[in-house]
């Protein structure tokens, strides 16, 4: 059975200054305890999030989601492309550039005061999304400020229509909508059902007795808008959610813990839209300026919210998921380590396989665990005892070719290159 992916995650920190190996080790334990799947990492155009930090997370089964809240006024496509190239090489799968473009403060005043704001935005971001698609990423629409100066639902609707008008509906096939889902001291089901359930709600005006998108169920509103325009639901990723950081200092910790636990429970119980890809709480750790309260402090002391989440994950095993490690390597050719085997004599037999699959080649079973498919050559005693079994345990699809003189490899090549290993391992989602 393919394990269900845990949609919970965290926004790591509100800065991009803590990506050392020490930071990684510092937080890995917490992440394992919480069994979360996603971690949003804040990046910048000046420097990418370090590869070592990303790989460490991937090995621990945490999926990094890079958030680059770049300045709309100085969007540099070349720089973005160069980062995308790096991230693609490091097997990152999700990146989002930009942040709250519906806010006046994100624009030059004179640009904001010019007509056609939506088209100005699309002009700036269409190349970014196209570049994301080109480098194998799913294009991600940056999170809007719920409500916001330019009302977010109107902004989203106009943007999607503009893309459609420009003949770029192809982007909808893979596009993800990032969003913020703050509770704003409102009930967790505030706005549930989206615009269809609250037709009296209008931009800038929510009549008494009605509800709007400014709550944790913002996902319902965005899903409805996307579906109405594109004809199909787009995946939605909550980049940051929970109690709004501005309110975390003021409201009492017990209440916050309750809210967060309920939110996590709802998410795990799939109470939200089917298209909810992930829901990240904000933030795992406080920023350098301590402006906001993190879920954990620098000494790893957990907040009440963190404790309640830990309890929830322990107490509700039926809802939590098994996070499978991220496997950044597609194929690994694990060579035998026995010294009495003459590898050079068998090289010709392996050659077609190497040429077709372009696998990573090495002698390390530990390294091979990072691959989705591991290919072994020779008999089982050519490898350390239990090696094959452990690889399978780690979720690798293992294929062994014993007789390199036969045409076994040639016959299996089409199957291998098609990415359909016959030995079942845990498919990486």
């Amino acid at each position: 059975m393919v394990p269900v992916q845990n949609p919970l995650g965290f926004y790591y920190r509100p800065d991009d200054l803590h990506y050392s190996q020490a930071d990684l080790h510092h937080w890995l334990g917490v992440l394992r305890n919480l069994q979360i799947h996603w971690l949003v990492l804040r990046g910048s155009l000046e420097r990418a999030v370090p590869r070592e930090f990303i790989q460490g997370l991937q090995l621990a089964g945490v999926e990094p989601f890079i958030h680059v809240p770049l300045d709309l006024q100085s969007l540099d496509l070349q720089c973005i492309e160069s980062q995308l190239a790096n991230y693609a090489e490091w097997n990152i799968r999700y990146t989002v550039f930009g942040d709250r473009p519906n806010q006046r403060g994100m624009w030059k005043p004179s640009e904001w005061a010019r007509g056609g704001l939506v088209d100005q935005f699309i002009d700036k971001f269409l190349p970014v999304w196209t570049a994301q698609a080109r480098f194998g990423f799913r294009p991600v629409f940056p999170a809007l400020e719920p409500g916001g100066d330019y009302w977010d639902t109107a902004f989203l609707q106009s943007c999607l229509k503009s893309l459609q008008r420009r003949g770029r509906s192809d982007l909808f096939q893979t596009m993800i909508l990032a969003t913020y889902a703050w509770t704003y001291d409102r009930p967790l089901d505030w706005g549930i059902g989206g615009p269809a359930a609250w037709p009296e709600s209008k931009p800038y005006h929510t009549p008494q007795g009605s509800q709007d998108q400014r709550g944790a169920r913002i996902v319902d509103w965005y899903a409805s808008i996307a579906s109405e325009i594109t004809g199909s639901a787009l995946d939605i990723f909550v980049l940051a959610g929970g109690v709004h950081p501005d309110n975390r200092r003021t409201s009492d910790q017990e209440t916050q813990a309750e809210i967060h636990a309920s939110l996590a429970r709802d998410v795990l119980m799939s109470e939200y839209s089917d298209n909810l890809l992930g829901f990240c709480f904000y933030s795992l750790s406080a920023g350098a300026d301590k402006k906001y309260i993190g879920w954990y402090d620098s000494e790893l002391a957990s907040s009440k919210s963190a404790e309640s989440l830990e309890r929830l994950m322990l107490a509700a095993p039926e809802t939590k998921s098994v996070s499978s490690p991220i496997k950044p390597i597609a194929h690994y050719l694990l060579l035998p380590t026995r010294t009495d085997l003459d590898l050079s004599a068998n090289w010709r037999g392996i050659e077609p396989l190497v040429m077709a699959l372009k696998p990573t080649i090495g002698f390390s079973p530990e390294e091979a665990r990072l691959a989705r498919q591991v290919i072994l050559i020779g008999e089982s005693d050519a490898y350390p005892a239990n090696c094959e079994h452990e690889l399978r345990e780690q979720g690798c699809a293992v294929r062994r070719f014993e007789d390199l003189e036969s045409d076994e490899i040639l016959l299996a090549l089409p199957e291998l290159t098609a990415g359909k290993p016959t030995n079942t391992g845990a498919d990486h989602v």
């Binding site: 005061a113 056609g116 700036k124 190349p127 902004f155 609707q157 003949g167």
Partner: protein
């Protein structure tokens, strides 16, 4: 940064101090950042009126009353300006509007009836009477005075009468006619939100905020719905680019600078510190931001507050009147500012829609030519090009394949036969209409592929030379049938034989747009400015080439001097292809060729001038061959060739067409004729010569090549209309036969596009037909029918200018403005002027002769236009 109130106080004070020049600078500073500030627009118009710039003020005010139809002051100024310009009847209309809004009486003998009724309705509306005389408004609307005011009054009246549906209908009609009217935008915005169309509703409101960034016109709605205020910019502020003049500062009452002894005021910013010579004294703008709570400065003994006109001094002189140089400088600064900061003054009928760059090719024909893999490469390159252009400030871009429904569907267009030029043209017209619905328009068209992919239009030949028809891209440049006057620039990339070459050229375009579309840093801009300013000191013509047939040297010099030193122009003879001088093969930016071309030969030829080159034996030396065009960075960036068939690519390849050879060698744009072209022998310039000079002049104004050629064609048509009253055969042929190969938005250099810089301007109005004359068909006039004096004149001219044509065969026809097309096809007939008659009383004498130089036959044509008295009005010769 200085805030809005301070800015306006400063402008108003400058106007009081008779420093309209400073007021204009300051208002322009503000509008450069906040072009949608109606109050600033009004102040600027006041300054312009004071400076005597009435036409500019008129344009500004006319736009202002579209944005704010209830601006009484603007109507008052409009009336005053129109009276000054002598348009008294129009002035009365605006005077009436002012009076309506001010509640003043109208005079039934002077003012129109609709205005009197509108005044009554407006008065009732202001008095909030319960029974509004909607009938009065209806009468004003029925009169349709082409003003938004009756619609606004009608809309408000219907709202007051409790009929929002009727009000909405008026707002919709009004918005359609005056899309910049804030009142309509607000009404439509609110209604759309109420009706659940949230995207459009917020768009309307945001558009209203951009046109009224100060919120002056939107105060009522913002008071009622304060949440909307988030859509309006906050903290409006801008930098003052110039110090405050002493006379303005003294009127403000806070001129402390001259007397200031503090180091802050005297030392830190020497360029902002006034000298103490009195009238030239300027004050740091920072001093304007004095704390209102701080005590007033103590006046120096020599200081005194002076009101607007205390009567004891001579009023400050208007520097503009006395120093036209200063005015020029101010104008230049304003233009520069406007270019840089989106505050360019719009022309009256300028189309304000967002220009769209359309890349046009045929999917099926490309697939047939190059196969699926190669086509996919080209398709990807086209998409990248589209995305690159979308990054240009103020532009959008689309790819259109007339035979691919997926590219047409977003515009609601149906596919058509890609082999049918007229069907493609009709799709482009439909596309333009569809774009209009989203506030966009075709701004430039780039055709990818040669005649086999997107066919040329085959237009009837308007001259009686040997061409059957004229391949042209002109019809692709218009939405209507008047293909003589292109509405948008068109370029073509005519290479489709090798996908790799085509892809490479597309990549060049992509790289160009990416480079020029990115915002330029201040250092980069400074570099560009210095380069432009200083280049004139360092051999300004080093990167241009002029190359002409010797016989046309005089006319060529008149063209070439627009871009280069006339002394550096080469002529053939003596220059020949096999002996090109070093100056002709160095790296070149702009190349101008005025040589002969043949339909079946790749070379361009010179021609001996019988007077100057008496000792030269060869009549038509080979001046340029494809092998003389080399790459290695030496190919000219832009080529204008007057040669006959200079842009003929039908059945040709890079080895048999110089135009294609240029394109594959790195030339970014080539302008040439697909068929026989005409020019003059000496100035005044006509036909291709005139087109060439206008093209280069437009290019010198930093226009992209496509727009430079488009405007050159419009200017040529205007000029010939002015000279003759119509377009004759060679004018028509010049307009349709000259095509552009290359990206229409290319312009030499890699300077970034300035934000707000409009390089392509479309007009919202244009003549649907042209006055054209035809000298084809009808009875032929025999030479003997011409008077002896006329014949003598013709012979004299031939002897002087065309000695070789004295024994040419000759046809003579009457030139007529209407044509039945009974025995020929001509544009005059096809454009609907069908009744024969209305002769221009002029005759067109066409001389034709073929010269043989052994291998090649050179057909030559000369056309003489004679007036009723037999006087030769025009002499055009084929190239």
């Amino acid at each position: 940064m200085t805030d809005r109130n301070t800015f306006f106080k400063l402008i108003e004070t400058a106007l009081l101090a008779n420093r309209a020049d400073y007021a204009r600078h300051t208002a322009s500073d503000w509008l450069a950042l906040w072009p949608g500030d109606v109050r600033a627009q009004l102040l600027l118009a006041r300054a312009e009126v004071q400076l005597g710039a009435h036409t500019t003020a008129l344009e500004r005010l006319a736009r202002l009353v579209h944005v704010d139809p209830e601006c009484a002051e603007a109507y008052g100024m409009l009336a005053s300006v129109l009276r000054t310009l002598g348009a008294t009847s129009r002035a009365l209309i605006f005077e009436a509007c002012e009076r309506i809004l001010m509640g003043d009486e109208l005079n039934s003998s002077r003012h129109p009836q609709w205005a009197i009724k509108l005044r009554a309705a407006y008065a009732e509306l202001r008095n909030a009477r319960s029974k509004l005389p909607l009938r009065l408004v209806q009468e004003a609307l029925a009169a349709d005075p082409d003003l938004a005011l009756p619609y606004v009054v009608g809309m408000r009246a219907q709202l007051s009468a409790g009929d929002p549906q009727s009000a909405l209908k008026l707002a919709q009609v009004g918005h359609h006619r005056w899309p910049e009217c804030v009142a309509f935008l607000l009404m439509l915005g609110e209604t759309s939100l109420q009706q659940g169309d949230i995207g459009r509703g917020v768009e309307y409101l945001h558009r209203a905020s951009s046109l009224d960034c100060g919120g002056d016109l939107s105060a009522a709605i913002l008071e009622r719905q304060p949440e909307y205020r988030n859509l309006w910019p906050e903290h409006l502020a801008a930098e003052l680019s110039r110090p405050v003049p002493a006379d303005v500062a003294s009127l403000l009452g806070d001129n402390r600078l001259v007397g200031s002894k503090t180091p802050e005021a005297s030392g830190d910013s020497p360029d902002m510190v006034a000298n103490d010579s009195g009238d030239a004294g300027e004050q740091s703008p920072n001093l304007l931001q004095t704390d209102p709570e701080s005590p007033l400065p103590e006046p120096e003994p020599w200081e005194a507050f002076r009101g607007p006109d205390p009567g004891d001094i001579t009023p400050p002189e208007m520097p503009v009147r006395e120093q036209p140089e200063a005015l020029l400088e101010i104008d230049e600064d304003l233009r520069r500012l406007a270019d840089r900061l989106n505050a360019r003054r719009r022309t009256r009928d300028e189309d304000g829609r967002v220009p769209a760059y359309i890349v046009l090719t045929s999917r099926s024909r490309m697939l047939q030519k190059m196969g699926e893999d190669d086509f996919n490469h080209i398709d990807n390159a086209v998409m990248r090009l589209v995305e690159a252009v979308r990054r240009r400030p103020g532009w959008t871009a689309y790819r259109i394949y007339p035979d691919d429904p997926s590219t047409l569907e977003p515009f609601g267009l149906a596919p058509c036969d890609p082999g049918n030029a007229w069907q493609i043209k009709l799709r482009l017209a439909d596309l333009d209409a569809s774009l209009a619905q989203r506030g966009e328009m075709i701004g430039a068209l780039y055709i990818i592929g040669g005649n086999d992919v997107i066919p040329f239009h085959r237009l009837p030949n308007p001259t009686d030379d040997s061409d059957d028809e004229v391949p042209s891209d002109n019809p692709y440049a218009t939405g209507d049938e008047n293909y003589f006057l292109p509405e948008w620039p068109v370029g073509r990339l005519p290479l489709d034989a090798k996908s790799s070459t085509l892809e490479k050229l597309l990549e060049n375009s992509i790289a160009y747009h990416l480079q020029t579309g990115r915002p330029a840093g201040s250092l980069h801009r400074l570099g560009n400015w210095l380069r432009r300013r200083l280049s004139s000191f360092f051999n300004p013509n080093a990167r241009t080439l002029g190359y002409t047939a010797s016989i046309w040297k005089k006319a060529s010099l008149a063209v070439y001097k627009s871009i280069g030193d006339p002394r550096s122009m080469f002529s053939s003879p003596p220059v020949e292809a096999s002996r090109l001088p070093a100056g002709a093969i160095r790296p070149i930016h702009l190349s101008y060729f005025n040589l002969h071309g043949l339909e079946d030969s790749p070379e361009w030829y010179g021609q001996r001038d019988p007077l100057r080159d008496a000792d030269v034996k060869i009549e038509f030396p080979i001046a340029l061959r494809p092998q003389d065009v080399v790459n290695s960075g030496r190919a000219p960036r832009i080529v204008f060739s007057e040669a006959c068939y200079g842009a003929n690519i039908l059945g040709k390849d890079v080895d048999t067409a110089l135009s294609l050879k240029f394109m594959t060698s790195g030339t970014q744009a080539i302008v040439g004729s697909t068929k026989i072209s005409y020019g003059s022998i000496t100035p005044p310039l006509i036909a291709a010569d005139l087109l060439g000079r206008l093209f280069w002049q437009n290019l010198n104004s930093r226009l992209p090549v496509g727009e430079a050629l488009r405007r050159a064609k419009l200017q040529l048509a205007t000029e010939m209309h002015k000279r003759q009253g119509y377009l004759d055969g060679e004018d028509q042929k010049t307009l349709i036969s000259f095509v552009l190969y290359g990206d229409p938005l290319y312009r030499p250099g890699l300077e970034s596009i300035h934000p707000g810089e409009k390089t392509v301007i479309r007009r919202s109005s244009r003549p649907s037909t042209m006055k054209t004359a035809c000298a084809l068909g009808g009875p032929q006039i025999e030479q003997e029918q011409l008077s002896a004096t006329t014949m003598k004149k013709i012979e004299l001219i031939l002897a002087q200018y065309l000695p070789g044509m004295q024994d040419a065969s000759c046809t003579i026809h009457h030139q007529h403005m209407q044509c039945d097309g009974s025995d020929h096809a001509c544009p005059t007939h096809l454009m609907g002027q069908k009744n024969l008659g209305s002769e221009t009383s002029s005759l067109v004498v066409t001389l034709s002769k073929s010269f043989s130089d052994g291998e090649r036959t050179h057909p030559h044509f000369a056309r003489l236009t004679l007036d009723a008295a037999g006087k030769v009005m025009k002499l055009a010769v084929s190239r």
